[in-house]
Amino acid sequence: MSNLVEIRDLHFSYGDRPILSNLSMDFPRGKLIAVMGGSGSGKTTVLRLIGGQIRPQRGTVSVNGEIVHRLDTENLYRLRRKMGMLFQFGALFTDLTVFENVAFPLREHTDIPEELLRDLVLMRLNAVGLRNAAQLKPNEISGGMARRVALARAIALDPELIMYDEPFAGLDPISMGVTANLIRNLNDTLGSTSILVSHDVNETFSIADYVYFLSGGKIVAQGTPAEMRASDDPYVKQFVNAEPDGPVPFHYPGKSLAEDLGLGGKQ
């Protein structure tokens, strides 16, 4: 099977509010696929559906041929051992050191001796450039470093699938570049499949193999980063060129200003 993750005809809503509708996506093995779109477009929801944290109302999400939301808890947890996820702000355990954060999944899922565990953790930390920060607590490191520690933790068990939720949000340009390179290098050296959710155009386009653009819970464009840069699609153009107005309106939909101010007669 060439696709590690397949999404078919997916519908998801929070109560009466639809988030995703009629969504179909493929995530081929070994590739780094970006899911882009504005805030509230449903990008993170896609990751949560793949991870089985929420269930769709219709359609399927399959990982390695297994339909995620049909698995019982035990099998879902078994599947998750093959996944790593980087949360938007790292989600590090604040009461543990950097070392213990990375060691956490190893301690929970393996019985490896303490010396080997130490070596494995230090190698993971070395891969993200933070071996010498091992004994620091999360509140003693910067946001960019926290993201890298979380990345080391996400790859601790050599996952087949790594999901990144807004890994560049709030980072300075140097940290952003470092993180982007790490994501690409880890994908290639581990041979894993990566799903990158982001709205940062330049960094994402520099490392992604393929890009899906989401808007209003639907795919509005897809292709390679080069195709997206050359796209005439109004949404893609607005997004890539950071234009304030376009298919995504500047104003939240509703009454006009004239109506709110009581000008221009009654309707």
Binding site: T73, G84, F89, F104, P105, A150
Partner: protein, 260 residues
Amino acid sequence: MIARFLGFIGAFVLDTIARIGFVTRSFFKLLGRAPGALKRPTLISEQIHFIGNYSLLIIVVSGLFVGMVLGLQGYYTLSQFGADEKLGQLVALSLLRELGPVVTALLFAGRAGTSLTAEIGLMKAGEQLSAMEMMAVNPVQRVLAPRFWGGIIAMPVLATIFSAIGVIGGYLVGVQLIGVDEGAFWSQMQGNIDVRRDILNGVLKSFVFGIAVTFTALFQGYEAQPTPEGVSRATTRTVVIASLMVLGLDFIMTALMFNK
């Protein structure tokens, strides 16, 4: 108008039943995961230390003052009937049967319960619980169950310490300050306290309170809205709900245990 009112009542009843069902299901889910946590005793001992040891100071100080007040008030009342030598029995019975378990549980809800709710709520807000789920680690078993054990083990121990310190407080005021006969104070206590009926029932009460308060605190934290306001509200709810549960359960258990 009447239809709307009936609709409102109906919605309220259905919502309440659904809520009770959800809480009950969560309780049994936690109970189902609790035995698994026993495989990792270090996690439980850490929580006993965190929950129990850090509550010790407030328990000791409160126990001392409650015992001292009991000594004073008990003496004023008993001396009117010439029964001041019964002071030891009164202090010990009040503490072992009621004040020890109840006041400890109320203090525990305020000190350790709020701390548990805030900790779990902030872990949720910081996506730490979601991260754990995505690492194939069940947060109910890894985070909630050890704290649950910590709470139900720590509570009877704290209540026992509260009662013991309270007796010392009563002794200091009754015997050392007021001058009640020391032999009478201790012998009345020894002769009229029954191990099963008084001491074990008190321990059983504090065990039940430990389950009620710790579960309430954990549930409120786990189900808190992941925002500063949500965590703040959950913390407040922990104190209110846990305190009312303790007082309600105390009445029921007292009626069942001492119904002669």
